[in-house]
């Protein structure tokens, strides 16, 4: 990003995968002038190859997925913000780097001017390169900037302290994502961040200070001038010209905003069959939505390629595991130099020599890079030749490299649990680089501890578990239907359970999508496709009454009008949807002209002729959303109301249409509707939570009273129709949450595995989620998530057999006192009482459910539970072998 200098040999960024160095050909002296080559001389691994050239490969593929991402908007061309001239005007991307612990300032927030001072007052300008047809061509909302600006302000305060003054200048605050509204509220109330609704028009340098003077107009019309130490431009997302030309080459259609054109019902399919799209190229979006798209695109590609699944896979030859029962430990110790990473500090040969002197160690050596492929083969050979039955590798961290070395053991015919890793890099050489002697001593201690532990390790078995190949989907709305179709297309038997008498869920009451597609038409096609699909069984008027089992082997009781049926399935997708709130305010229910958005949709679907003759229609937004007791944005309502306002205008252009709102949240390219509505003469009036509109019914007249935000005066609007954008309310199905052991949040939406990286699955293995049950979302996003949930489920189904970890708890039933503490303490429901046999009433542990945390082991007052791989004697041996160290 040009914030700091970097050397010619560089790592792209700290989290790069693979974490390998590259040479920058634009600055390397050898590549430019043929001199130097120092890196080649110094590289002990001989990894430098100056002759590498760009190569072209031709691949035969069945599907292509486009995920080229976005380019941050370059604000250099905006002369009013003076980004190009003033060092303390930075972009939000630059500010992200300034906040980052691995960034150029190591996370210390400092100015870019020569003084490098810590700022005391920072301003964020929103919508730079978004929602702007005046200074640039990006009409759309970039969707993510409001939230990242708030996040940056909060983190900046965390770094600098509470005294930091943060102000965000915005047009509409768009925190429409899950848990975002709460974050916004906390930013205002707990962190004291100022939010100012204004577009700043000028930034001027304050002479001799590097500070910045800004001028803006407040909501009351006052012109204010203020001085800030730093300004962050919240730049938008755009498609780079290279990607536009790639799209042209691929004959893929683009939208008006240069994003990939898709339909709401096939949200990841491009205009070209077989080419799919995900991420910000599909439309500006945040991480969870991009992750949903990614899984959905994988599913879409998989649907077409299902027949070819596993046709190109190779099965590795499996060596028969050696039986080491009764053998004395014969330990091999491999001490890694990691180039100079370890050997530059620790006396590695000395540590290896010391290791050779330890009890039961039959072999010890050092390696330059233990993880390199050739060393792996050498280790495997040595294990076989020396007939070793335990291995210690002293190198980096088991968190990244344990699986690799375990694989080496398997290749040498050893059980992979006869292994211990000892961390002499991350937790030794790297952190004690100025104390080589002490670091060497520590390395020896760590090796001794690992040797004493590994001597007590035993071969562990991983439970093999067949995955039932049937899927259950709870909920037959569009998300559930999309998931079912994807599963069926990929060859899996799927059951949809729907509590109502027909499929479709909330979509049954919706008129058109934001892109103008007819929902009912598509829904009826979808319905008939599902009904004629041999692999999909639909259970209408059916509820779940019991769920037993776990990942791969669920047994669910379905009850329909008194008839019970037990379904065995390997995975479950929860798509239980949500409902519209029945408003308690604005006289809803007292007059047939006061209706909800869905009721207006019903009139539009039925083609109600009275709509044409209305003289005025008023829409009230945020009815039940963004309230103290329901602190979330329902995400769909702004677009929905604007869409319906346009429909009314289409029927009668003379109609006066008003939308009363708090912030308009037409994110992404939905912004075009907002523009069209204003062009069509729809009047937008803003209100605040403290000053809500008032609805009066007086005889035949409905009057809405509101303070106009431009006039600053109360006005009265006569309404022939009042449409209330009522909140999306989750079903909050606690019984279902209990059945599958999945959590609900405070609002009643299901809590996914990871807010950003696991949006379509639960932390509970084998259970997935999609649709409104996750969070309010429009149809295209529901369908994408339906496909995504199917995609995630198939990663499990397609394995057919899964192995659980060997490091699980087990009970010694003879010692068990049947107190039940393990059963009540286990977060995963793994322990239970045996029901029959000689040990009936004693605890047993289901190794499939056990995650190996050891909570039950520590809590067992009878000492009847052991954790394999972290057994008492193994941990004690580590402690006892420390004696020389402590």
């Amino acid at each position: 990003m040009g914030l700091a200098k970097r050397k010619s040999a560089y790592v792209e960024y700290a989290q790069a995968v693979p974490l390998k160095y590259a040479i920058d050909p634009d600055s390397c002296i050898y590549l430019k002038k043929g001199k130097c080559g120092a890196c080649k001389k110094f590289c002990e691994a001989d990894a430098i190859d100056f002759d590498q050239k760009e190569e072209k490969h031709t691949l035969q593929v069945g599907s292509v997925i486009l995920a080229p991402g976005f380019k941050p908007f370059d604000p250099s061309r905006f002369d009013n913000y003076q980004y190009a001239n003033l060092p303390n005007v930075v972009t939000s991307m630059e500010f992200e780097r300034i906040l980052s612990a691995s960034g150029p300032t190591m996370g210390h927030v400092s100015r870019r001017s020569k003084d490098k001072a810590e700022p005391k007052k920072i301003a964020w300008f929103q919508c730079v390169g978004s929602r702007d047809l005046n200074k640039c061509d990006n009409f759309y909302c970039s969707s993510v900037c409001c939230m990242y600006a708030i996040k940056e302000a909060v983190i900046a305060k965390e770094h600098i302290g509470e005294d930091l003054d943060c102000s965000v200048f915005y047009m509409d605050m768009r925190t429409h994502g899950k848990e975002f509204e709460r974050f916004y509220e906390n930013a205002k109330t707990k962190h004291g961040i100022n939010f100012i609704r204004s577009r700043v028009h000028t930034v001027n340098p304050v002479p001799e200070t590097d500070d910045l003077e800004i001028r803006y107009v407040t909501e009351n019309g006052e012109i204010v001038s203020e001085i800030y130490n730093m300004i962050v431009l919240s730049v938008g997302l755009e498609t780079s010209p290279e990607i536009v030309s790639l799209a042209q080459k691929l004959d893929v259609d683009l939208t008006e905003g240069n994003f990939c054109k898709t339909s709401s019902f096939d949200p990841v399919l491009t205009s070209k069959e077989g080419i799919y799209v995900c991420g910000a190229f599909q439309g500006p979006k945040d991480i969870p939505q991009a992750v949903v798209d990614a899984s959905a695109a994988a599913a879409a590609a998989g649907e077409k390629l299902a027949a070819a699944r596993n046709s190109l896979t190779k099965t590795p030859e499996k060596l028969v595991e050696k039986n080491i029962f009764g053998e004395r430990p014969r330990i091999g110790v491999f001490v890694c130099k990691c180039g100079i990473n370890i050997a530059g500090v620790v006396d590695v040969p000395g540590v290896a020599e010391y290791a050779a002197s330890l009890p039961y160690v039959d072999f010890a050596t050092d390696n330059l890079y233990s993880c390199s492929q050739d060393t792996q083969e050498v280790i495997s050979q040595i294990i076989k030749e020396k007939n070793l039955n335990r291995v210690v590798v002293a190198a980096c961290t088991p968190k990244t490299h344990e699986p690799l070395f375990q694989e080496t053991l398997i290749n040498a015919g050893l059980n992979k649990y006869l292994f211990e890793m000892c961390n002499i890099r991350n937790q030794n050489s790297w952190v004690h680089k100025n104390n080589p002697d002490l670091a060497t001593e520590k390395a020896k201690d760590l090796v001794r501890m690992a040797v004493s532990k590994v001597a007590l390790m035993e071969p562990l078995k991983e439970a093999e578990l067949e995955v039932n190949q049937t899927a259950l989907i709870v909920g037959g709305g569009v998300a559930g239907m999309a998931a079912a179709q994807s599963l069926s297309a990929q060859g899996y038997e799927t059951h949809i359970v729907e509590q109502n008498s027909q499929l479709g869920g909330q979509a049954l009451s919706l008129f058109k999508t934001a892109k103008g597609e007819d929902i009912q038409e598509r829904l009826s096609t979808l319905n008939s496709e599902i009904n004629s699909d041999d692999k999909i069984t639909v259970h209408l008027n059916t509820k779940l009454t019991e769920v037993e089992g776990f990942v791969g082997n669920f047994k669910t009781k379905l009850s329909s009008n008194g008839d019970d049926q037990v379904l065995e399935h390997g995975v479950a997708i929860l798509a239980t949807g949500a409902a519209a709130l029945e408003p308690k305010e604005y006289h809803y229910g007292k007059d047939s002209r006061i209706i909800t958005s869905l009721e207006l949709d019903k009139k539009l679907i039925e083609g109600d002729p009275t709509l044409k003759s209305l003289n005025s229609a008023v829409f009230i937004q945020c009815v039940g959303s963004r309230e103290p007791d329901r602190q979330y944005c329902s995400r769909v309502c702004c677009t929905h109301s604007i869409d319906n306002a346009l429909e009314l205008k289409k029927r009668n252009p003379e109609m006066s249409v008003y939308i009363l709102y708090r912030d308009i949240r037409t994110y992404g390219e939905r912004e075009i509707l907002y523009r069209k509505a204003r062009e069509a003469g729809v009047i937008f009036i803003r209100y605040t939570l403290e000053n809500k509109p008032e609805v009066l019914i007086d005889g035949n007249n409905i009057t809405v009273k509101i303070t106009d935000h431009v006039l600053g005066r109360p006005i009265e609007i006569g309404a022939d129709l009042l449409s209330l954008a009522s909140a999306v309310i989750p079903n909050k199905d606690e019984a279902l949450a209990q059945f599958f052991k999945v959590p609900l949040n405070d609002d009643g939406f299901f809590v996914e595995k990871h807010a950003k990286l696991g949006p379509s699955e639960f932390a509970t293995d084998g259970v997935f989620l999609c649709g409104l049950a996750h969070y309010p979302k429009p149809i295209d996003e529901s369908i994408a998530q339906g496909k995504a949930a199917a995609s995630r489920a198939i990663t499990l189904l397609s394995r057919q057999i899964i192995f659980t970890s060997g490091t699980v708890a087990a009970t010694t039933q003879a010692d068990c006192s049947s107190c039940g503490v393990c059963i009540s303490i286990c977060p995963y429901n793994a322990p239970s009482f045996l029901e029959e046999g000689p040990f009936a009433g004693k605890a047993q542990i289901n190794s499939v459910l056990c995650k190996g945390c050891g909570l039950c082991v520590a809590s067992c007052r009878s000492g009847a539970i052991r954790l394999k791989g972290f057994d008492n004697d193994q941990i004690f041996s580590q402690i006892f072998s420390m004696n020389e160290a402590v």
Binding site: A14, A101, S102, T397, P398, K399, N423, R425, N426, Q427, N428, W430, V431, H432, K433, N434, N435, L438, A439, E441, K442, D445, L446, M449, T807, G852, C853, G854, L855, V857, A858, L867, G869, F870, N872, I875, F876, Q878, I879, F880, M882, N883, A885, V886
Partner: protein, 66 residues
């Protein structure tokens, strides 16, 4: 001032603190070397007996983090 340095034994949760200790290395932070880490699968696995054993073996401090 005495030269005495406490000897510390730590039990770190594999999922958080052990990873954090790795990250301290990746970030090239520095700290005194008189600490010996034992990786446990979760602090749920921690037993008072481990802390007592470490103290009996001569540790001056036991640090459990997770």
């Amino acid at each position: 001032m005495s030269e005495w340095e406490p000897k510390i034994v730590s039990f770190l949760c594999n999922w958080c603190s052990y990873g954090a200790a790795d990250l301290a290395g990746v970030s090239r932070m520095e700290y005194p070397s008189n600490i010996r880490v034992i990786r446990i699968p979760c602090t749920g696995r921690m037993s008072p007996k481990f802390a007592l054993a470490a103290l009996r073996e001569g540790a001056d401090g036991v640090w459990v983090s997770g």
